[in-house]
Subunit: 408 residues, 2 copies
DNA sequence: GGATATTGTTCGCACTTCAAACAATACCGG
DNA sequence: CCGGTATTGTTTGAAGTGCGAACAATATCC
């Protein structure tokens, strides 16, 4: 039951109905390919006549193509329809504190090439270097197909509309109009997004598997920080200033450890990789600045190493993981009470130890969840090997083609 | 950029375009009445010809009517259009711990009659009594017009789809199919909702004033508990199990005072009326059950009395209010970081002292808000005299008439 | 080889927006 | 009082849509 916004509405024209139905058909083909016109008509509850015309238009727009003819027990054999994705290229970029990831993929998100290099912190150099790498990548691996845009993901706050990075503390970038610079250097359209929200986009728009399909979910990435993306009604929650979803900085305890954001006791300060390592090494985070520790004491020991030690019966390591797991669960419980999503996706280094921490996490959730049903909210672990940030960056370019037309 | 749900979509038929445009016209008339067809056509960017037909259909559906002719500097005088609301009745019910509120209003939410009586806790008696009161109310004050339904609001968790009260601890009600019972006793359609979310509905759907119009906002009601309603894209967030928006039970400090929900350190436990009174009287909430205190020690002294004392220079009373104000602000900051709404509406007993606590609340918000822009999120105080719960109950019945048709 | 089943196309019809002409007022300046 | 002009609201034909039914094109089965 949505209220019509009388200050920003979209009247239906005589082509609106077809726009809507063409997009529905396109999405059904995407989800069920290969599929015949007749099957499509049955799924849409429309006559084959109309569907034939819709398909004809989608072919004319080069969004789909006719493939082989399928098998049928009786009667004329169907001609299968497919989404045209293999010859539409997308460049995805994930800028992180240590390294930058660069991927070339097609419109379905299928990876064609991937490379990684040390992050360049100077903006002009970063843009120049990246543009050169993209040109080379497209020339060598692009097979002559056209690239439809660049999706760029950064750890920090961005204004997705204007393409500006507002504040990325990990990179030391502030108020950078990266879209204009990169678009100028490459001649390609550029879209940017925060890394937590981009991962949520990847989950929303990635090619259908058995775990996709939820249209109301929360995506939680536990790493150096805690990134969260919230999807409501199949739409990413961005908010007035594009900071929506910052659950990482909700308080767990007002007098808890110091957080990078300046406040105390943030969820992130309890559950980030640094917090987990601190528990193991006995660092005191409430006194020192977390940034300090990061460089000085941490060395090259990561949470993945910690997980390995826990698996080889290092009880101190396991205790550190479980402690973080409990705080993870407490925060997740709050998210459930607030958003009440269909499911929650989890990723990050510590989630690789899900078999070790799951019980603790679930007990913590039960501790604060308001109803029994809320306690049973499905938790789905996604692998970090699938590059969720990069797939989200790609979705920034590919998704608008499939999105629902704005109406009413 | 919304993803089409391929498991639950709505194909456009040949009447869809008109359905959409008719609803847009209806909402524009509602917002700008009295308005002429020509004005409507200009606002919709359509020709007068189409608008004439749309208006004709709306009149045939008895949703609008033609009123007086207006004035014009030159040319033919316009005939004004109005929403037909005065002869469509709605019954709104607000069940609270101490008393039940019963209101008769028209489709615009205009109050025709209101009564209040001690809450009956036995379900069968409650239904029987309420049905009798509604019959009497409609007979005496109904002017012979038809009543289109009953909106019922309770403090607790409800399943809005099935019309069941899942758990209303304040009333001691659990798993009650109140809709079937009340509909059976009155012969009228019944819709139910949680009180916090209902207030948000009232804010969303109430007749336009200078403070309405936001389509992304959070409504916070601070009273015996803390009720919150979240509106995203003009739609109330309900969630999978209809518990979305329960910010009242996010933690402020894990080892904080005991909350009614069983957990410790909930925002509600820091900011409810009971918490504020406890600060003034020096009650220790961490040890006793809050329910206990409520009946035993509180007496008839309310937060409104406390506000009165603070205004007459009782420094201990003021300190108690400011202490609550600070925690209010800390919670609001988290809500801003998470939802990043266009604005936040505030109501409740303590908000009547807004002039006293505003500075403290805003300082606390600035303490934890992640960006400067977030700190400036508009806070709007709404009066408790306007019965937001009852207007929300009425909106449950009236709003579906004006809601956007589901498409794609 | 005819009956049957299924796919995909075509055509008339009903419904829609859209642009333009039209009728119905009203005011103004002589 | 009368024509000129401006504005509102209606009507009309053209073009874009979905809907239902008939149709042609396959294919299998007995």
């Amino acid at each position: 039951m949505r209220k019509i916004n009388t200050r920003d509405f979209h009247v239906a024209t005589r082509t609106t109905s077809r726009d809507i139905n063409r997009h529905i058909a396109l999405n059904l083909i995407r989800e069920h390919q290969p599929i015949s016109r007749a099957d499509l008509a049955r799924r849409m509850n429309m006559t084959r006549g109309v569907v034939s015309v819709l398909v004809q238009e989608l072919i004319a727009q080069a969004l789909i193509y006719e493939g082989a003819t399928g098998e049928a027990a009786r009667g004329r054999k169907p001609t299968f329809l497919h989404i045209r994705t293999h010859d539409r290229l997308v460049v995805a970029v994930d800028v992180r504190f240590t390294r930058t990831y660069l991927m070339l993929c097609d419109f379905s998100g299928r990876q064609l090439a991937i490379e990684t290099y040390d992050t360049v912190f100077s903006i002009p150099e970063f843009v120049k270097d990246l543009a050169a790498r993209i040109r080379k990548l497209l020339k060598r691996q692009g097979l002559g197909f056209t690239c439809e845009g660049i999706g760029l993901v950064v750890p920090g706050m961005v204004d997705q509309r204007t393409g500006k990075i507002l504040n990325a503390p990990a990179l030391g970038w502030r108020d950078v109009d990266i879209r204009t610079k990169l678009a100028g250097a490459t001649g390609l359209p550029v879209h940017i997004e925060n890394s937590g929200r981009a991962s949520a986009l990847a989950q929303l728009w990635s090619e259908p598997t058995e775990t996709t399909g939820a249209h109301n979910f929360v995506y939680i990435s536990v790493s150096d920080g805690v990134g969260v993306g919230v999807v409501v009604n199949g739409e990413l929650l961005r908010g007035r200033d594009h900071i929506a979803g910052e659950f990482g900085h909700m308080p767990i305890s007002m007098d808890g450890p110091r957080c990078m954001c300046g406040a105390n006791g943030c969820w992130e300060a309890y559950t980030s990789n640094l917090a987990t390592l601190s528990r193991y090494f006995g660092w005191n985070l409430s006194k020192h600045s977390p940034k300090h520790l990061k460089v000085a004491e941490r060395g090259s020991f990561t949470v993945l190493d910690l997980v390995a030690r826990a698996r080889s019966k290092d009880s101190k390591a396991l205790a550190a993981l479980l402690s973080t797991g409990r705080f993870l669960g407490l925060g997740i419980a709050t998210i459930i009470n607030v958003v009440n999503p269909d499911c929650i996706y989890l990723t990050g280094e510590i989630i690789t130890a899900w078999d070790l921490i799951e019980d603790t996490v679930r007990r913590a959730i039960a501790e604060r969840a308001l109803t029994e049903a809320a306690t049973r909210t499905p938790l789905r672990v996604t692998s970090t090997q699938e590059y969720p940030r990069l797939r989200g960056a790609a979705a920034l370019i590919a998704a608008p083609t499939f999105a629902a037309p704005r109406v009413a």
